[in-house]
Amino acid sequence: MELGLEVDDSRSPYTVLAVKGEVDVYTAPRLREKLVELASQGRNQIIVDLEGVEFLDSTGLGVLVGGLKRLRSNDGDLGLVCTQARILKVFEITGLTKVFTISGSVDEATAS
């Protein structure tokens, strides 16, 4: 099972990371590594696009929380793009909709 991770640099100052596939305990370490790599390159405004994600469990949530913490401690932020009800539900149940800014599209997330 492959996790797709595509970086789009064309929306400065934002870096958009499009995630595709299933995010679980097997694939989440790759997402974590990518977020750490982007942050270490000084990109501190990251939008994670979850529209291509078919499944996300608490391991994936944990990696996103870790990424958010890393970026905020660096005066940055990590925003999400998600409109899929089944993925949004995981954020809602855990209360994390109050922690993350969740937008309906990449355009919306990078508009400000």
């Binding site: 099972m1 679980d24 305990v25 499944f55 469990d57 944990g62 870790g66 089944r86 995981v90 994390l96």
Partner: protein, 161 residues
């Protein structure tokens, strides 16, 4: 209760996707459940398997994790049995509220609350050397159960014969 399926799964992260696929295929093929309920069960199963596999890793055991699907007229149950040493589900650390900045210090510990929220009934039983998680979703058999059993399930069942 009839055992519909029993799998011995190697305690390694790459197998969790297969468990999700098998359980959700069985649920959608054999039970009268809305797609959303199947997604809920799939997520709960993933959380329970993740905990089981991580517990095996911490304990350094190479025993498999057992996944069992049981059916009755009005419900389907999934049991995940591990040999990871066990834990007390009532003594899990509590997270700070999401409005507290220190909430971001906690990347883990959401699995069990999620399981409890997602399925109709969740039980955590301590065993001598591990934990049995029982997850129940209520809903009768599909009208055409059997015909709808997917190719994947047929292949898995055939393999066990």
């Amino acid at each position: 209760m009839i055992v519909a399926l029993e799998l011995a799964v190697p305690a390694s992260p790459e197998y969790i996707a297969i468990v999700r696929l098998v359980v959700s295929s069985l649920a959608s093929g054999r039970r009268n459940l809305a797609d959303q309920r199947i997604d809920d069960l799939k997520l709960a199963v993933s959380e329970a398997c993740t905990n089981a596999i991580e517990a095996h890793g911490r304990r350094g055991t190479d025993e498999p994790v057992t996944v069992r699907v049981l059916e009755a007229d009005e419900r389907m149950e999934v049991e995940i049995v591990d040999h990871g040493g066990g834990f007390d589900p009532d003594r899990l650390p509590l997270h700070p509220p999401v409005t507290d900045p220190s909430r971001l210090d906690f990347e883990r510990g959401l699995g069990i609350p999620l399981i409890r929220t997602l399925v109709d009934l969740a039980r955590f039983e301590r065993l001598a050397d591990g934990t049995k998680v029982r997850m129940v979703v209520f809903g009768g058999p599909a009208d055409d159960a059997g015909d709808q059993t997917s190719e994947i399930i047929r292949a898995v069942l055939a393999d066990g014969e």
